[in-house]
């Protein structure tokens, strides 16, 4: 049953991509109206999947890469619905649906079996640490989509640039605050479980790299020569670093976080 629901979710996401692609060539109003539908259905399916898993596990599904990713796709969707209230653009819908489709396709390669928590993960910090990381990365994901749109609009007089820049800024600030929380809860937890609040483990280090890239963005936005396109590049690079922290590190640089 869960697998069927998974397939349905995936089909919905692909459908969203196709509709949004069609909207680029066929600007008809019924397509515009239909566009958010598969996204709403995706969110509904994910909610059921997550609720199911929560009931099966007896805790929030936040303990491994698979659970993290499903949750993140769901939170990105929520953020997207929120941003969409004040920023409508076909490219935005397209970028988000594409990103989510890719993330979701990648999920299929992750082990999804239900496993009990190993001793190191039995901590009151687990939920806080993982939940803040998911929310931070989701904010950065949406900022990334907007950053790409910013960079694709080459006409510097375009009034939409200012609106996009503003939204990117707000998203990055939210992401930065949440990532700071994630790193701090992680450090406090590491001190409690390993006796070391920082050990330069690859996952830890790359989350610091992420933090530093977005700090650079926040500074860049306030200097004349870095404002605009250059700082938009930092937002794009920032999310590539996020993806590497999440998936690249686990595959290429295993360390203390290797269960995740």
């Amino acid at each position: 049953m869960a697998e069927k629901l998974f397939m349905v979710t995936f089909v919905m996401l692909v459908l969203a991509v196709l509709i949004n692609l069609a909207r680029l060539w066929l600007p008809v109003s019924w397509l515009d109206k239909a566009a958010p539908l598969p996204m709403y259905l995706t969110a509904a399916c994910l909610l059921v999947i997550l609720a199911w898993r929560t009931a099966d596990l007896g805790r929030l599904p936040l303990a491994n890469m698979y659970e993290f990713s499903v949750f993140m796709v769901f939170v990105i969707l929520l953020g997207y619905f929120f941003i969409r209230r004040s920023l409508t653009a076909v490219e935005f819908d397209l970028a988000v649906s594409l990103l989510l489709t890719l993330l979701f396709a990648m999920l299929a390669s992750l082990p999804s079996d239900l496993r009990p928590l190993m001793p190191a993960l039995q901590s009151r910090w687990l939920t806080a640490h993982v939940a803040t990381a998911i929310m931070a990365y989701s904010a950065f994901a949406i900022a990334f989509c907007l950053g790409i749109i910013y960079l694709s609009r080459t006409n510097q007089e375009d009034p939409s640039l200012k609106v996009i820049d503003r939204q990117v800024y707000r998203l990055v600030v939210w992401g930065f605050v949440l990532l700071t929380l994630a790193i701090i809860t992680g450090a406090v937890w590491a001190e409690e479980v390993w006796g070391n609040w920082w050990s330069w483990d690859p996952k830890e280090t790359w989350s610091l790299v992420t933090w530093v890239v977005y700090a650079a963005y926040l500074h860049a936005r306030r200097t004349k020569e870095w404002r605009g396109r250059r700082s938009a590049w930092l937002v794009v690079i920032g999310f590539l670093v996020v993806l590497f922290t999440l998936y690249g590190v686990s595959i290429l640089l295993p360390g203390l976080h290797s269960y995740a």
């Binding site: 009990p116 503003r166 600030v173 929380l181 330069w200 500074h219």
Partner: protein, 343 residues
């Protein structure tokens, strides 16, 4: 001339405290940190020469890129980061009026606080692994931690129904330490805290009690850890190695342990001469085996608990820095985060 020098200094200072410099410094810190995850850390110089070739390997060794986070120049980079933040903050002190500007100041200074805490730990933190058998008491002084006695009353492994470990629990007491006496069950994620000293549940194993008789007369009872080699002390470089199989079973490949629970305990004991196994016996508790001039009796088995002791005065400062960091960030971005119109 002095004027010119002054101006040069001022230009350097204003460059060091500029946003542009902050951006480059941040990107540099990120790039250097990332480098340390790509080059394997803590290997021997020969490893880098072999893996990366003589040229690149030599550069890695010269710049200590194999111990990057401990290298002197990495500390220097952190020092520069801290100092520029301090200078910057000092310059901005006068303009700190609103919640946002005070927040920003607190936020930046908290990074200095965290770096100071880390530096303090670097200089003063001590840690040691202590392996204690059940009912055994050890003196902290033996591990470089001042006065105090650490006792392990019991060690328990809690299992899930599928026999995966759920939790490791040590019932320990710490007496005579400066902060008073403690008696507590610790587990993974729940250490004992006594001021700046913390005791962590770190690992575990089996402690085997063996009665050893040499030439039929001199008898002693020794505690040997699973997998350890115990020298027999006679002139011929004889030793024993013990391997404990808590849940003994056999198949065509030989003996193995089905689970880590002591359902069918069995001790594998090898007699080593100059490091080479010359004889071997399997014993159930209470059984005796004769090998050369020795006879061994497997008296008993129990758990030992691997406890990590850590004394670290810097952590408190670091955690205070964390709180300031969050307060500062919230102050800086309060309006943007929580009000409709934003900044």
């Amino acid at each position: 001339m002095p004027d010119k020098q002054n101006k040069g200094n001022r230009n350097l200072l204003s460059w060091l405290t500029s946003m542009r410099f902050a951006i480059y410094l941040l990107i540099l810190v990120g790039a250097v940190s990332a480098l340390g995850t790509i080059i394997p850390q803590g290997q021997s110089p020969a490893f880098y020469l072999y893996t990366y070739g003589n040229g690149t390997g030599a550069v890695i060794n010269l710049l200590s890129l194999g111990n990057l986070y401990q290298a002197w120049w990495f500390s220097l980079l952190m020092l520069i980061l801290g100092l520029t933040i301090l200078i910057c903050s000092f310059q901005r002190l006068r303009h700190a009026r609103s919640l946002a500007t005070v927040g920003s100041l607190v936020f930046h200074l908290s990074i200095v606080v965290i770096l100071s805490g880390a530096a303090w730990s670097l200089g003063y933190a001590r840690s040691a692994m202590v392996e204690v058998a059940e009912q055994q008491t050890v003196a902290l002084a033996d591990y470089g931690f001042g006065s105090g006695q650490l006792t392990l009353h019991s060690f328990v492994i809690d299992y899930y129904p599928d026999l995966q470990p759920r939790q490791y629990i040590s019932d320990i007491s710490l007496t005579g330490y400066e902060q008073g006496d403690h008696h507590l069950k610790i587990n993974v994620n729940n250490p004992l805290r006594a001021g700046n000293l913390k005791i962590y549940q770190s690992n575990w194993g089996w402690m085997l009690k063996i009665k050893l008789t040499t030439n039929g007369c001199s008898t002693q009872v020794v505690d040997v850890k699973d997998y350890d080699v115990f020298p027999l002390g006679s002139g011929e470089d004889n030793a024993i190695r013990v391997v404990f199989l808590p849940d003994y079973a056999e198949d065509q490949h030989g003996a193995f342990s089905r689970t880590s629970q002591p359902n069918a305990p069995c001790l594998g004991l090898s007699l080593l001469q100059s490091g080479r196994a010359v004889d071997m016996a399997l014993m159930a508790p209470g059984e005796e085996a004769q090998m050369g001039q020795y006879s061994f009796t497997f008296e008993d088995f129990s758990y030992y608990s691997g406890l990590q002791l850590k004394y670290d005065p810097g952590v408190t400062l670091v955690f205070a820095g964390f709180i300031l960091l969050l307060l500062g960030l919230l102050g800086r971005y309060w309006r943007l985060l929580f009000s409709r119109e934003g900044d």
